[in-house]
């Protein structure tokens, strides 16, 4: 656990907390971007270049922009009158803590379940590519099919309905 890890962890957590606690929706979206960037840097610190850069490309380049667009298009950029905090925040907190506990327990249990090796695996982009079109080709194709279906669905939703022409 190097000091860099702690710095990045603090950055990521601060981004995440700010995205929940800030009052302005666009500020929240930008704070979430900081959390995404922190996660990407954590991946890079673990020497997972591909995952880190894909995280930046997909989450900052696409997801954050999508969130921002959604906020602007729904006119949510103005502050609501009753405040932004939900009255049931306590329930949300309990559920989040529960999920975190389960995940933490799973991670901690895996340390004893899977034998640890001291050798750091070196995974190059080349290996990832080969694995994707070799061993994991079926999941890849299923994901591709799902995305194609989603794209076609989006086009159909956005399509203009043809009006009956007056005779």
């Amino acid at each position: 656990m190097s000091p860099i890890f702690y710095l990045l962890a603090v950055l990521t957590l601060a981004g995440g907390l700010a995205s929940v606690l800030l009052k302005h929706l666009v500020h929240c979206a930008l704070a979430v971007t900081i959390a995404f960037a922190g996660l990407a840097l954590l991946f890079l610190q673990l020497d997972a270049q591909f995952a880190g850069f894909a995280q930046i490309l997909v989450y900052i380049g696409a997801v954050a922009i999508l969130i921002v667009f959604a906020i602007l298009l729904t006119r949510g950029s103005e502050l609501p009158k009753g405040g932004v905090f939900s009255p049931t925040w306590l329930v949300g907190l309990v559920i989040a803590a529960g999920v975190f506990a389960v995940l933490g327990w799973a991670v901690l249990a895996s340390v004893s379940a899977i034998p640890q090796s001291n050798i750091v695996p070196s995974v190059t982009v080349h290996d990832i590519g080969l694995a994707l079109v070799g061993r994991y080709v079926l999941p890849l194709e299923i994901v591709a099919l799902l995305l194609t279906a989603a794209t076609i669905g989006a086009v159909i939703v956005a399509m203009h309905e043809k009006k009956e022409r007056p005779q």
Partner: protein, 401 residues
């Protein structure tokens, strides 16, 4: 005679590696523990000083060139032939008042230009600018470049939204929509290079092209899929950098200046710098992917230092950017989107298939014929079909008549 030849040869090898040797010489003064860090620092200093210098030169070059195209003189007051104009501009932007609108979101307004310039500079880290001249030789360099490019979009949005100005917001929305649409195309056109090279590392991509048949190089632009990919890449790069004919985000006759309307002084200069740096970075990437990076155009020109080739390719691309700005009118928003999603994107997807076909047809003349025929037929058919749905004719006015 032989000794003489060898001496000349080693002179050119040294000239080719002059920056690498210079860095090693400077780093040699430090203790061994500090040397790697100092080497990287020197590389960063070189990038951070060379490209803004090039930016200053390009602004004069652009204003002079545009002036010539529009039959006027261009800047000619400061220094000989107006060459010191960028210095005057720099001093002006430094001494101007930094105005932040009253209702602007001050923090985001302040951060936007910084995020833009920092992310754009990051892209240069993976570009091989000459033999052994790359700051970080990453295994997934191409992915890094695109990741940094994606991050610039957010800064454009931040600038437009935080200014609290309808022109800024409109400009930012246009810019983000345009950049997302053309980024898909930009990525997909680079994917065909990755398919052929089998690597995301930009140094490996250049090395794969640095071979010669006779005197001609193995640049990817000299293949059917490479030519199609290069044209698509050039279109997408023009749109990504908001240059004419895709300069809708800052169309000054419609939106004042788009997302940087409310910026003044040095912050405005930073936006200007970021825009030109993005042009350099994308030109450099295009040269690396399709035009052989730092390799010479003919085998007998291999003695010219490799960095000269890289920078001359970049500057040629910049000249074409300027030329287009002086020539083409601006597109309309719907034309821009239709062009991206209905013509360029299908064509790029087809190009991916053609690249796969090229890869698996093996050597021989057949693949040249088949691949060229498919691409040409697709271009003609798609173009004809889409032109048919455009009804050209006398303009009909809805309200004016």
């Amino acid at each position: 005679m032989t000794a003489n030849f060898l001496a000349v040869n080693s002179l050119f090898v040294n000239l080719d590696q002059i920056f690498v040797l210079l860095r090693n010489w400077l780093v040699g003064f430090l203790p061994a523990a500090l040397q790697p860090a100092a080497g990287v620092l020197l590389g960063v200093i070189a990038i951070v000083s060379v490209f803004p210098g090039l930016f200053a030169l390009t602004t004069v070059f652009e204003r002079k060139g545009l002036g010539r195209m529009q039959n006027r003189l261009g800047p000619n007051r400061v220094g000989p032939y107006g060459l010191f104009q960028p210095i005057a501009d720099g001093i002006k932007s430094l001494t101007k008042e930094d105005i932040v609108p009253f209702s602007a979101n001050a923090v985001v307004h302040f951060l936007a230009p910084l995020v833009l310039v920092v992310t754009v500079f990051m892209g240069f880290a993976v570009l091989p600018m000459g033999r052994n001249m790359v700051l970080v030789d990453m295994d997934s360099g191409l992915l890094f470049f695109f990741a940094m490019g994606a991050a610039t979009e957010l800064s454009v949005f931040m600038a437009g939204w935080s200014s609290r100005n309808k022109y800024s917001l409109l400009g930012a929305m246009r810019a983000v929509a345009q950049m997302i649409s053309y980024e898909v195309v930009l990525l997909l056109s680079a994917v065909s290079i990755v398919m052929i090279t089998g690597s995301l590392s930009l140094t490996k991509i250049v090395a794969a092209q640095n071979q010669y048949t006779g005197i001609f190089p193995h640049w990817y632009i000299f293949t059917p899929w490479g030519l199609a990919g290069f044209i698509v890449f050039a279109i997408a790069a023009t749109a990504e950098t908001n240059r004419t004919p895709f300069d809708l985000p800052e169309g000054e006759s419609e939106l004042v200046a788009g997302y940087h309307t409310e910026y003044s002084g040095f912050k405005f200069a930073l936006f200007f710098l970021g825009e030109y740096l993005a042009m350099f970075a994308l030109s450099g990437l295009g040269a690396t992917l399709f035009l052989g990076g730092w390799s010479a155009p003919f085998s007998f020109l291999g003695w010219v230092p490799s960095w000269i080739w890289f920078f001359s390719k970049v500057m040629c691309a910049i000249f074409i950017f300027i030329w287009m700005r002086g020539t083409l009118p601006r597109l309309r928003q719907d034309q821009l989107m239709n062009f991206a999603w209905k013509f360029v994107l299908p064509f790029t997807l087809l190009n991916l298939l053609v690249t796969a076909l090229w890869r698996f047809m093996g050597d021989g003349w057949q693949r040249w014929v088949v691949c060229t025929a498919i691409l040409a037929a697709a271009y003609v058919i798609m173009g004809r079909l889409q032109m048919r749905s455009q009804h050209f004719g006398r303009r009909s006015y809805r309200y004016a008549e």
